[in-house]
Symmetry: C2
Subunit: 426 residues, 2 copies
Amino acid sequence: MDCDTLVIGAGVLGLSSAYYLKKMDPAKRVVVIDRFGGPGQGNSAKSEGGYRTLFTSEVNYLLADSTIDWFSHVEEDLGYDLKFHNIGYLWLLSDEQYTGWKDALQIIERRGTEMRTLGKEDLERIIPDLVTDFRDDDEAELLGLEQVDVGILGVKCGSIDADALVRSYEQEFTKLGGEITYNTKAEKLILKPVEELDIPGEPFVWQESHVVGAETNKGEMRAETTVVACGVWSEMLLDPLGFDSFMRPKKRQLFAFKEPRLEGLLNVKGLNKYGVLPLTILPKALILLKPELSEGSIWLGCADDLGRPFGLEEDPQAEEDYYTNNIYHALVKYFPCFEDVRPMNMWAGQYAVNSFDGIPVVVPSPGMIYVGGASGSGIMKADALGRIVAALNLGEEEAELYGGRRLKVADLGIHNRNVERESLII
Amino acid sequence: MDCDTLVIGAGVLGLSSAYYLKKMDPAKRVVVIDRFGGPGQGNSAKSEGGYRTLFTSEVNYLLADSTIDWFSHVEEDLGYDLKFHNIGYLWLLSDEQYTGWKDALQIIERRGTEMRTLGKEDLERIIPDLVTDFRDDDEAELLGLEQVDVGILGVKCGSIDADALVRSYEQEFTKLGGEITYNTKAEKLILKPVEELDIPGEPFVWQESHVVGAETNKGEMRAETTVVACGVWSEMLLDPLGFDSFMRPKKRQLFAFKEPRLEGLLNVKGLNKYGVLPLTILPKALILLKPELSEGSIWLGCADDLGRPFGLEEDPQAEEDYYTNNIYHALVKYFPCFEDVRPMNMWAGQYAVNSFDGIPVVVPSPGMIYVGGASGSGIMKADALGRIVAALNLGEEEAELYGGRRLKVADLGIHNRNVERESLII
């Protein structure tokens, strides 16, 4: 046995899991391996780093809300600079869309989640750069763009530096004596019979088998438990085992802008203490804008769904054309300040999309725990998910989340999965 | 528009869907295409053709029970020879496994499903070829094989000729005026904006888009609704669209035997009216045996799970070694009559495994309906699933299954999915 627990993947889910695995059982040898040269280099650090508490699913809310409290603890008590900026999330909706949101908002309101509803006039006054109405714009009408009638502002929502978060887990984990080996690629999970007979061809179908570690480019690593936490790459390890990763990889792109004419978006009063535009979601197309306070820029993303293929890409690239000849047409109608503005930077990563219910899975299998399917919200749920992995490994029925709330571990599993499908997916 | 409804896939789900689409709306032009030269040539006709009513999930029960009644109707009233043999399903269990089955059996009993419980002595008496006890067999003990303490006999269970079933739907469909074009491969679904603007690059992310047909090796085929029913191949059409197929392909193999020493299995009195062994499932390894009455042979399969990879194979092959150096070790301990018996024939197909809840999905998307994820039990649920597809296409809330029972169409969808995870998966 090379270690007690082998964690594959030094992204945010792997490192959070490793940290709690070590913290909850300090005598155990916990080793993290990652194919890249540093933490979060797969997709974690490429994330927009948004976080929110507005979810319809109770489990999603609990995962995110407790993780956000953890962010605050990490900045205030542990002294890391996570660029934790509670700028809020602002959903812009047409009246028709707002009607479709009523059930979701009722669930969220009943939970006591802080939010504000803004009317069209409020929005026009507070965000002078925003066009809410296309009555005078034949072209926008022709494009079929939705007007903006209502704004929903989520208050405990905002932005975090995903890279800094990942590094905080890395540092806390190694402080406890946890080990990380970078540039180490898991190539295959090792499946062995529980009772080895030393007959060629094992494991046979009639034997109980379990995962006992992984083959890596640096040799075999054996462990009592192997935690698979490598996001979209998980399928490369799990498919050969015939174990479902409950997710499909989908590319998502970010474009960053820094132009004097966008200054207005960094000067929006009354929606957050920073006086900037909240992370803002345009109607229908799910185009997102986020002021990045640390660099005075605006980040733009788009939650494209139907038409954007599934499939693992080794090195996904942003497509400038996707901005200039696609998103731009709509964006410039809502925010004319983007006219002729080109991105100064762009990059792409992949979401691990669980289309079934949109909620992460934490699934045990003999000798193994798989955590994944976070559907693009792994960062904002990372702390809770790491605790759930550790609790599952210790055989505990419940995990204690930051702040003391508890969650049944099996709820996020498959056999006794107990979650409601999330309605507010971005 | 080339047709009203284009059904991709002339397997059992595609043809059943096509039949009900046409039957429920005879004025519509319904066209089925398939890459192969005849019906069911993908995986349908490779199936073992087992059917059963023992399911824990109410939906699964309803789908199967009504479809089995349809089989009976097709033979008795429509005059097709489906080789519909109600030989029963016999699960052999150890006491420990039986304890694990208690909850499932209670659900099934409460539903009124006919079954019998047989003790070890009953089993030994009725099936002289079966070894229930390994007390005198050190090797079997060493292998860790489970003893047989209990048998659960499902009565409304048995075997059907999958090929004949597929052909019955084909014939009934064409009788109604439905059209089928073989050797026609759908290469790509065509996604277009609902409101076309004739601007290059459509559909844009900010447009509503819908499927309007498929590109095939014989040209484009446009339709108001495209039904994707091509089993494991569905992912080749759906992944590029970024639409989840909610299944992973997994190879399953069948081996056929015809040997004088297996005659005993074709002469088992008291478990069904045919006086043969029921479709029998060995403990734990899920090795299955099925007497194939029409050819006087025994078919053998194995529901291998962990260790059998996921992944689409164009032409999956049976592995003789999988029988001789794997299944055989256990098989011959339970049924010594298999000693030195080699398969006379073998073949392989692929299951479309939905690991999430084990239940088929019928999912709408603009311009499209996807039916799949039947997890190896598509044949025994085909009639109900075809009716659900047709009801969904007509915008009906409920589908009427054969015999008059009704099912909410949305229950099998994703957004408002309402099914219990199946516990009795083979």
